[in-house]
């Protein structure tokens, strides 16, 4: 059974694309056949983070508009078998996507035997974001521990519950998961950041994982490699946990409390 997952947030810049890239890579590493689609038409980023920007010939819009076949547009990842990327178009705008067109692409991917279809949503609550979530079976809400990000996530959760296909057809609701990114327990302790518990309470969504604030995320983006592949990094461990929990494994949450720095570490910075 194929599953459509939307990675969404409402607010921009909270880590949707980073999360989409790492989760789809993680799912593929576990042996699943995964396709990750960039819905951010006009502002494509996913191909950069996946490191395949130079291999984009046809994109998602071409397929939706019938100018290319799905096979032509799917970019096979070079590092992980069974992982495919459908890039967004940089030159078109969001109106280039239609609901029927998106539906056909998703149905074709399902027929092609993909286990997971990960939809990387654009920011906002407009058409692009609504199309990205419309066909979803599960949703990963990416939030930063910060008031405006939480508010926007709350808004997008309302849209998930009202305007998705599952909601419109009265089916079982979309399963919601919360991923808290850029979490810095030190700053939570000093009151600069919202605590995970407060975010969870407000959104009333089950926590899938916490990704600690980390320089590795930026470095990974710049080098075109999903951060989950950086074995050393805490962010990678966090995303690995997230993938495991998503697949049903029980794992204790990590990265929620501040690391105690030893005197030496304090003195030498790290």
């Amino acid at each position: 059974m194929s599953k459509v997952i939307v990675v969404t947030s409402g607010k921009g810049g909270v880590g949707k694309t980073t999360t989409s890239a790492s989760i789809s890579t993680g799912l593929a590493q576990k042996g699943n056949k995964v396709c990750v689609i960039d819905f951010d038409v006009g502002l494509r980023n996913l191909d950069l983070i996946m490191g395949c920007e130079r291999r984009v010939v046809y994109d998602f819009v071409n397929v939706v508009q019938g100018e290319a076949s799905l096979k032509q547009a799917l970019i096979k990842d070079k590092r992980v078998p069974n992982l495919f990327i459908l890039a967004a178009s940089q030159t078109r705008d969001k109106d280039a996507l239609t609901q029927e067109g998106v539906e056909k692409v998703i149905e074709d991917l399902k027929a092609d035997g993909f286990d997971y279809i990960v939809c990387d949503s654009p920011a906002g609550i407009e058409k692009g974001a609504q199309l990205a979530l419309y066909f979803a079976d599960e949703a990963i809400i990416v939030t930063n521990p910060e008031v405006s990000s939480v508010r926007d996530s709350d808004r997008i959760l309302g849209i998930l519950q009202a305007k998705s296909r599952r909601a419109e057809q009265g089916e079982e609701p979309i399963i919601e998961h919360l991923v808290l990114t850029r979490y810095n327990p030190g700053r939570v302790d000093s009151g600069e950041m919202m605590a995970a518990d407060d975010v969870i309470e407000l959104l009333s969504v089950k926590l899938l994982g916490v990704v600690p604030e980390s320089e590795d995320v930026l470095n990974a983006s710049n080098s075109g490699e999903p951060v989950i592949m950086d074995e050393e990094s805490k962010a990678a461990q966090a995303y690995k946990d997230i993938v495991d929990r998503f697949l049903g494994e029980e794992k204790e949450h990590r990265f929620l409390t501040a690391e105690k720095k030893s005197l030496l570490k304090k003195l030498f910075g790290k």
């Binding site: 609550i125 508010r151 926007d152 709350d154 808004r155 959760l157 309302g158 519950q161 009202a162 909601a167 009265g170 407000l202 009333s204």
Partner: protein, 257 residues
Amino acid sequence: MPLSVALRWWYSLKRHTLMAKKIIDLKGSILSFTVLKLYNDNIDETKQALADKIAKAADFFIGIPIVLEPQVELKNPTYLALLIEYLRQLQMIPIGIRSEDPAIQEQAEFAGLALFPKETSKKKMPKEIEDKPVQAAAPQPVEEGLASAMRVARAVRSGQQIYAKNRDLIIMGSVNPGSEVIADGNVFVFGKVMGKVIAGSSGAEDARIYAKQLNPELVCIAGVYLLAEDIDDVYKQSFVEISLNNDKLVFNNKILD
């Protein structure tokens, strides 16, 4: 939402008038008007059609307020003025216009007519609320007997708005920041209130608000409202009841003791 905006507006007016000695009272009220729908912008044909209609029951139309609702684009710029003139000749009182068309709205302004909003609120709101039984019960042609409370079995999220017309509202989850829950009757919230809560939105002064925990953006009963900063922190800790007494909101956190 126009309703709550209107409520705040008239209450702020009312507060100002209260400061001085009470001379006038501005109250929100729901009235019904006769709407004249226009499907043609030819003034002669419209006049003829009106004359035919009125010939059947002339007395009935004398002195009645009329709201115009053009269903077509009014290409003739004098049409509205001529029509208003003609309606007055027939002893009707054109008072306003209902249209989304900016050109028509501008003409209406010239003609001294009030602008009425489209009837969107009724249709839009049940759609936002995905509770099926609620939707089914929404159209209530005859308001007799017991209208049971509307129940929302989840959190109300930012940007969502719930309106319980002519009845109480029960919210099982929290009312999140940026959301609004409105009822003509009482409002009960079993979660945390962090958004706006409006009870007695059609003017029922005996309506009350009950909340398990209250830290709202605004609470309002029958047009009398308070913002978060005006509410004493002691009422933000535990179960609280809000009622209206002599145009003042009264908070009670001891009713469960």
